[in-house]
Assembly symmetry: C2
Homo-oligomer: 347 residues x 2
DNA sequence: TTGAAAGCGCTAACAT
DNA sequence: ATGTTAGCGCTTTCAA
């Protein structure tokens, strides 16, 4: 046999009809364990892979999910893609990428047009697109299934993310426990929900420790390195400078470290620095940057699984013995984060 | 009309058979100008878009190009994807990602299988896959069109890349001109063609400056941060340590910087450090890392354009009046690099 | 220059 | 729990 195996080959080999093969491939119910096993073996042996084109044509679905993203960092997107692709591969789905020009005036129209031409079965929204009210509205109205990752977004759609506020609070507490009382904070873009949550967590930790909030210790950035530099220059210029700075992400934190070096400050003895995201750079900096790790791959995987369940899930929902529906989970799924404590905060 | 128009709708509206519509859509010959006109109008009026799935199924093409990649860095892959997607979007092609498990025993089989199931019309090979002889052989044998990016590869297929050796030579010359005579070098993985080329460039610069080659100044890494750390520990442990270290990529260079800090060396006065790739980290480190910038986005774009030309080019090749074939360019296309000189090499 | 018919490989609706 | 039958929208013969 020279060309690729088709569903017919599998059916013949397993001694069943092609429909049964289809059931196994699509994880539909009503296949006996024995049959499923036999079919699975034939599939493995023939190295059968269903043709996306044929499935799409016949099923009116594209077996494609779309990933919409703005100008997030490459490491974030890379991790996210890995997670998504893992699930996609298992489930024989394809991934269509749509890098959105965030500043486009008619972003929603662009996205809708892309959806029309690509016809993905569902969409994953990565931040900060998930925070865009107009876009979410348009998506909701269009009826396409979607899920947000790494952001609670506007709360009007399902999402998979960590508890950003709790993470920021915990990191802040770590700094406070290290003896810091003058804590600087570099905010992210105001229109990112996660920026706000991280700031809230910071404030919560302060007030829990009875440290008065000092507005002069707060600077604003845009999540990029350069804005971290600017923020640090502002925060470190006064006489009464902070002894620790918590930046809302690693790129800005690395900017803070840059300025500290320029000013001849030693990290962490003169200035402790913390970031958020655990991007690769946090290990590579000297000293290593303490930061918060999100399980981005898992987030991608989980989001994809939930999206696929949503797409084809309704039918499986009340499977079996009158039990509760399986897919009616909470709209949002919260995954655990982890504090990565490195030398930048340890005296 | 609620759902999208199909070829039948167009045919009915234009009063022709679907085959004629197909001819018009695919710009095939043997359609009278009048008919073509009429069909074109119907297409415009119905906003007809041919279904990729159906075209793929029937025609054996997918209008998809595949991107194969191993464990390259996220910033590299991100840039590459941006370049590729730009061209894809213009040409109405989709992009299918295939992250290859490099250590897989039957990598070629995996890839071939993926090709058979996804049926991309062409493939972009990113390093180090382009250096895998067995894989390239398999691809060549399978007859699928492909092109390598950022690596001359084994030289048995088209590619788009920079002149790695010249770049490494130029960076080395920069170090020599800064007064360094004891130059350390951290090699990349031996099975990466670009590792070898970068090393060759280094050696060429040494001999051009009449600096004797010293084997004790050469260490081996695997392109990852940790291996840079190990390499630096080795290179900086002896008494007669180098005054400059050129690492084959930025991640390893950052490892070198880490060790320098640990040993209390000041960069660049005690030790100059240079990297390769101009990943974002090179700016974020302190001091900024001198490195070589590849135009990765352009490489991606160019490769995609050439691949698509190759895919659909054959039929256009001898169009009309016996002119020369249009697509017979050189197999390899060399794009310019750029030295990014930052503080890590400037006294 | 045009069209009719036969699939491509799969899923959906309806048997059994 | 499994099979049968009709297509999905298009391209490819091959015929007119």
């Amino acid at each position: 046999m020279t060309s690729a195996a088709t569903i017919n080959d599998v059916a013949t080999m397993a001694g069943v009809s092609i429909k049964t093969v289809s059931r196994v491939v699509n994880r539909e119910p009503n296949v006996s364990e024995k049959t499923r096993e036999r079919v699975a073996q034939a599939i493995a042996q023939l190295r059968y892979k269903p043709s996306l084109a044929a499935r799409g044509l016949a099923g009116g679905r594209s077996f494609l999910i779309g990933l919409l993203y703005g100008n997030a960092s490459d490491s974030f997107l890379g991790e996210l893609q890995r997670g998504i692709l893992r699930t996609c591969r298992e489930r024989h789905y394809g991934l269509a990428l749509f890098p959105v020009a965030q500043q486009a005036p008619d972003l929603e129209a662009d996205v809708l047009e892309w959806i029309r031409s690509t016809q993905p079965d569902g969409i994953i929204l990565s931040p900060p697109l998930s925070d865009n009210e107009a876009l979410v509205d348009a998506l909701l109205k269009s009826g396409i299934k979607f899920i947000s990752v790494s952001s609670a977004g506007t709360g009007r759609g399902p999402s998979v993310h960590i508890d950003e506020a709790a993470a920021a609070q915990q990191m802040t507490r770590h700094l406070i426990e290290a003896g810091h009382r003058r804590l600087g904070f570099v905010k992210g873009p105001a229109d990112h929900v996660c920026s706000c949550l991280r700031f809230e967590g910071f404030c919560a930790a302060l007030s829990a420790a009875d440290i008065p909030f000092d507005d002069s210790l707060i600077a604003c950035g845009d999540f990029h390195f350069d804005s971290g530099v600017e923020a640090a220059e502002q925060l470190l210029s006064g006489l009464n400078r902070p002894t620790a700075i918590f930046a809302s992400n690693d790129d800005m934190a690395s900017g803070v470290m840059h300025v500290a070096y320029q000013k001849g400050l030693t990290i962490p003895s003169d200035l402790a620095v913390a970031g958020f995201d655990d991007t690769p750079v946090s290990r590579q900096l000297w000293p290593g940057l303490s930061t918060v790790r999100q399980p981005i791959q898992s987030i991608g995987q989980t989001a994809t699984e939930r999206l696929l369940a949503d797409i084809s899930g309704v039918k499986n929902e009340n499977s079996g013995n009158g039990a509760e529906p399986k897919y009616r989970r909470a709209e949002s799924e919260i995954l655990p984060f982890e504090l990565m404590l490195r030398a930048s905060t340890k005296g």
